[in-house]
Amino acid sequence: MIKTTKLGRRAILAGAAAGSALLAAPGIVRAQSPVIRVGMLLPRSGFFAQAGQSCHRGALAAPRVLSDLGYRVELVHIDTESNADIARTQAERAINDGVHCLVGSFDSGHTLAIAQVAEQRQVPLVINIAAAPPITEQGYKFLVRNFQTGPQLVTNGLRLIGETITATKIAPKTAVFLHANDTFGQAQRSAMDALFPRANLPFTLAESIAYDPRAQDLSVEVTRLRALRPDLVLVVTRASDAVKLVRDMVRQRFEPMGIVSPGSPGMYDEEFYQALGPLADFHISNLPWVNPRSAMTKALEAAFLAANPGTRFAADAFNAGFTFEAILIAADAFKRAGTTNGPQLMAAIKATDIAEHVMIGGPIKFDEKGQNPNIGSAAVQNRNRTPTVVLPADSSAAAPVLPMPGWQGRA
């Protein structure tokens, strides 16, 4: 005998209610969580691994500092494998697994991929490092960037080049701009093209050269530099290509007055010091840096060394500092909002006002586009294989040295 069951109106309504409750459960759990779960999306393997690992070390130090400050945070460490598609997929998975906020992701291309997911899922994304201007120009409502845009980096970088020239009394006549041909490098190139003519610097830009950052060597690029004979070489590099660049300059005995980055990684990374030894010294990176006088920086440094034995905070300061601050922003917003509900948490993040923090600059605040306009820059020169602030004078640890000493006397 076949038994039949009739589905009545009440049964359907009850089923629908139960289904809705089941579907809403992760959101309810998320909103009621006593601790904020932050998904750390960083390129810890692949092409950007060196920088991703550096950021990761900062993240490892963060919970201890934040706990001492009364914040409750739980980090979920996720590797984006230096791949934008994987970054997007991992962001989806992290949200499905219940993270309340995303932090990442060092590379602008990856960050844009994650931003789309964050927007669709209404989960806040706090950008630690990524400079491409479009990130905050596309109307995303669920992201903030606590990092300078490419034009800001270049504007501050060029200003600091002018100040360095004044302080060292050198008289460069020409420069060449050499940049990695990736999302970040192209953004810097656009900013340079727009801003250099207005910077009133006492030298001309002879040429801009884009190179493949994954190239096995940069010997031909350096031969071209030699042919142009610029006094200054302005570079936008990543870690490994900065090593290749200097190595080929030494081999080809090309000695400009200085190698200056108007805002890019590469020349302050541990990998750069390890690979080049004394040849890593005297190169200048103009970029946001940790404020050595801040109490929070000191606390971060102590926690960093405890969490990462055998590493140097100085070489990781940039990546670790910004990554820490991104987590701080999320934790602070959670504390004020009292909820992990996406839109409410995002509203709290947008209302951030943190006066005491790690990086040089004014209070952490965000404009209507989600950009923090208060981040400062410093001229950081490699001295004895340690990044050392040389400008601005009020936070410097040494005076800038240019022209840099010749290669031959150093090895």
Partner: protein
């Protein structure tokens, strides 16, 4: 622009191209005889780079010297791999060979990531920053050494295939497999020897590459692609073609970087590949079938 800069760029292209050529030679030898495409070629080259790095970092042995034991070890590894893992796939559909070798490649890359991590590994040789100055020319010492070693290894390989009885037997297998089997040649043994020789080439090339580039697991796919490009441009299975194409690709990349834009150099090697496939599909020195 002064003429000596062009000569300098040409020399850089030739010297780098010779090392590229040696790496592609291994792929060409294996394909020419066994008709098997080694999709894990670049991965083996990177393993050799790491071995050279380890020899240097732990024992201070220069990669120019450590390339000998590395090549010998790779020969043995290649022989065993062919006899026990690859031989059953010879003659089977190409997609099965592809899956086997790609699987091997993935295992190697992830193994290297687990052991060494993703960071670049440098062999900081005492002469890494030295260069020869000849008139107005400046030539990197490491590049000269690596190219010279490539030439020596290639010459030995050519001599082996030309004059040694085993080399001639391998060529017989490549020319007429049935005939070689009929006259009593141990084809399986000769195939394994061939795979071992191809692996020895890639082992030597990988060890030499570590003086030119920093080792990282992520280099592997690029090396595989580069070796394929060179072998196709030179002519599948042509040993001389691999060396010539290595130099042609090295020079085309160097001049594209110098005269146009460095970021366009890969475009030129692939442009060359497309032109060869369109107008001379057998490759520069390959035989028309």
């Amino acid at each position: 622009m002064p003429f000596d800069f062009y000569v300098n760029v040409a020399l850089q292209g030739i010297l780098t191209g010779l090392v590229y050529g040696l790496m592609a030679l291994g792929l060409s030898v294996i394909f020419g005889v066994i008709r098997l495409v080694n999709f894990a070629h670049g991965e083996f080259a990177v393993v050799a780079m790491y071995l050279a790095f380890v020899f240097f970092a732990w024992a201070g042995i220069d990669p120019m010297i450590s390339m000998l034991p590395i090549a010998a070890g790779f020969f043995g590894l290649g022989y065993l791999l062919q006899r026990h893992a690859i031989d059953p796939f010879v003659g089977r559909p190409e997609h099965e060979q592809f899956i086997l070798l790609v699987g091997l490649a993935i295992v190697m890359v992830n193994g290297l990531l687990m052991i060494f991590g993703p960071d670049l590994r440098h062999a900081n040789l005492s002469y890494a920053f030295d260069s020869y100055e000849i008139g107005t020319l400046l030539i990197d010492k490491v590049r000269v050494y690596a190219a010279a070693a490539s030439l020596v290894v290639s010459a030995l390989l050519f001599a082996f295939f030309r004059f040694a009885r085993t080399g001639m037997a391998i060529r017989a297998c490549a020319d007429n497999l049935t005939g070689a089997a009929v006259v009593g040649l141990d084809v399986k043994h000769l195939y394994a020897l061939t795979f071992g020789i191809g692996m020895a080439c890639v082992g030597a090339a990988g060890a030499l590459m570590v003086v030119l580039a920093d080792a990282t697991p992520m280099l592997a796919p690029a090396f595989t692609l580069l070796a394929f490009t060179i072998v196709i441009v030179g002519g599948m299975g042509s040993m001389a073609g691999a060396l010539v194409a290595g130099i042609v690709i090295g020079m085309s990349e160097a001049f594209a970087s110098f005269l146009l834009a460095p970021s366009m150099k890969s475009m030129f090697s692939f442009g060359l590949l497309i032109a060869v496939l369109l107008f001379r599909p057998q490759g520069l020195l390959g035989k028309r079938k």
